[in-house]
Symmetry: C2
């Protein structure tokens, strides 16, 4: 029923399909055990870069085809902040990420299930991935108590106490009905000791196995999450173990939490080397253009991050040269659009001076227009990356992009780190 | 060059045109002195109601035709809060109101002039009316010092000191370039004595004359503002005086500031009786559905109010039966749209439960969707009013609307009153 794909082959073009329901005789990933991962979401690899690990493909989901590498806007609370589903479609967005932790607390999983599931609830008929909530429990929730059973925490909204187990995480995500769902994982801090990180990893592995065991919906792809902090040997161990269980895709979690960019990429490289070529690879929480380009070069297919939308609401807008803040007085009388080369709705219709004015006045329209611009930038970047890969020019694209794009200083990274550490300190996680 | 229109005639259908540039041989308003008010904005009366003073018409402006009676969404800072020009067009909005006071402070009149004027700045190619800023100086600004010359005030944003004179108010509005502009007026409180209100009225009259005298742009219509508080004799005096000067249109200011609805309507009736039939009449700051229906019956053509958009952002949404707050828990699991009979974008696409969730989470999308709903309601109401007038059924429409529409209690009115009085107390207006 399935063919083993020799991963050593120099694949230039391959159609890979991992779902039984959509099995169509093409090269098939892994072996018979795949039949357990019975879902309709699969990755078709279209082209790999001869000079790097970059690859272009298509993620086939029950809600449409998602060209990869792809950036997924984050809509934690069943809305990408400040924009409508129509805005997202006009931007060409094909998939968004929602969050089980947030939706569990508000409006509650049962409400969304009653409303016909997450797609219908948020009026989004394209693909959705839900994060299990693991990361949010460790970054947002309070007074966590960890045991092998699961994690008890207090809501960051009203302090109410909750328990989420791997089994519940899957049950919740099946009720939400996203196209791709994720295992519950334990996220240690990047400053934790090897011993502590290893313990978290082991628990993540047990939980992944339990998640896999209780999955009942055949039309949802389940992604495992590789942990192991900044320790290459743990990352290798984690990747190998999870791959041995067999998942529809593999996410890399626990990165971009304050460590250096070089270290992030080193760990990505180390991890990807052990992931099967025929499965989508998702780097969680990475969203800066330079990190995305570098991670694509290392073989990542999917990215999600609140960064582009979050900084948009602070007036920080992307250009091919780097980020600029529209609140700078230089924009106050600029009749041109913010980026005259940009084809987004905002730059097509409004002057930089107008956008500057909206931000100065804290007008709600500011946030929408800025969000549209940044999402358009991200989507255009991903398209340029895909075109470069399929056109065989990714290496030169990467060089020229990185040569002209001025990354933001470490400010944001450090703010993120501080937030994470604050959450850690605030929460007094109790290990059982 | 112009025909005198006998206002005693039982006008059932008349085309009235007050602009020299668009003079086309139809019945012409007032007499030769009209040539001074040389502008392209005019009112064509199409139909009057035989049983009330309601009338339907068309306001012809350099930026399109505006069917009247019309409700003008307020975009004080060159944006109707939370929506784009495209949203407004999709809603069928033909004219918005912006505010000279706000735009003078931010981004500054010179900036907008440099950007090609207000239409281009806010990317709105339909009609605009600008308020002179009089009302805002008296409700928002601080430490006002009034003299015959003008009003000195401190910005509510940064405390900086400014002087606005009638001449400057016109100069600013000519730079902004709206289709209709307004005279600078002095707004007394509705609790002031007759003596105080009369003094403010007299100054408003002097200022109106000065505004009229310095107007240089032939393509802008200048509206006078009738004042006189809650004293019918002053209102009559004000209307007569301003009409004797001759303006392109007449606004009624200083109402709906906390007095009873019955008193508001009594003053409207008293005032309209003295306004020429062939000029547009604008009731300033009135925006509740029941007040609009009643004021249309008394002969008002134009309304502006921040109410529908302001309450939308608090979750208060209109229906034909009255206002309901989407934050009520009754909506938390309602799969139907907020108003199943409503054809707006929001109700066509989202469940009440989703909108409730967005509000609960204070998601930015909430404010946009609610604003769209309320503006759609207002625009549909105005269309229904116009259709009823032209169809000869306004009286029964009015009766059935008021029978089924449950006005909100006085809460909002009292909040508004308190705000006004607070501003008065805060500001220590000094009379010269």
């Amino acid at each position: 029923m399935a063919f083993r794909l020799d991963l050593e082959d120099d694949i230039q073009l391959a159609i890979i399909n991992i779902g039984r329901d959509s099995f169509d005789g093409h090269i098939y990933g892994k072996d018979e055990e795949d039949s357990i991962i019975d879902n309709k979401t699969s990755l078709r690899l279209i082209q790999t870069c001869p000079n790097s690990n970059a690859r272009a493909g298509e993620l086939v989901t029950p809600h449409g085809i998602v060209a990869t590498p792809v950036f997924l806007p984050v809509g934690s609370q069943a809305t990408v902040k400040a924009v409508t589903p129509d805005d997202l479609k006009e931007l060409g967005i094909t998939m968004v990420m929602a969050n089980t932790y947030h939706l569990y607390l508000r409006p509650g999983i049962a409400v969304i299930e009653k409303m016909g599931g997450l797609h219908q609830f948020m009026a989004w008929d394209r693909a959705i991935i839900t994060d299990s909530g693991g990361y949010q429990i460790f970054s947002l929730a309070r007074l966590r108590k960890l045991s092998d059973e699961g994690v008890t925490f207090r809501s960051h909204i009203d302090g109410s106490q909750h328990l989420i187990t791997p089994e519940l995480a899957i049950q919740f995500q099946e009720s939400l009905g996203a196209d791709i769902i994720m295992v519950l994982d334990e996220c240690p801090s990047h400053t934790d000791t090897l011993e502590r990180v290893e313990k978290a990893m082991d628990r993540t592995h047990q939980w992944a196995e339990r998640c896999r065991g209780v999955q009942t919906h055949g039309d949802q792809a389940l992604f495992a999450i590789v942990q192991g902090g900044l320790f290459p040997e743990l990352r290798r161990k984690s990747a190998s173990f999870l791959v041995s269980l067999g998942f529809s895709g593999y996410a890399i979690g626990g990165l971009s939490l304050g460590e250096s960019k070089a270290l992030t990429q080193a760990i990505v490289e180390e991890t990807v080397a052990l992931l099967p070529e025929n499965r989508p690879r998702h780097l969680m929480g990475v969203g800066s253009p330079e990190d995305i380009v570098e991670s694509v070069a290392r073989g990542i297919d999917m990215f999600d991050s609140a960064l582009p939308t979050q900084i948009a609401r602070k007036g920080a807008l992307f250009t091919r040269q780097g980020r600029h803040n529209i609140l700078r007085s230089a924009y106050s009388q600029r009749e041109d659009p913010f980026d005259p080369d940009c084809a987004c709705y905002t730059c097509r219709n409004f002057s930089a001076a107008y956008l500057h004015h909206l931000f100065k006045c804290k007008e709600l329209l500011a946030y929408r227009l800025a969000t549209i611009h940044n999402l358009h930038f991200m989507n255009s970047l991903m398209k340029a990356i895909r075109d470069a890969i399929t056109g065989g020019t990714f290496s030169s694209f990467r060089d020229s992009f990185l040569a002209s794009y001025q990354p933001t200083n470490d400010e944001v990274r450090l703010v993120q780190k501080k937030k994470w550490l604050d959450a850690q300190n605030r929460s007094d996680t109790i290990q059982d």
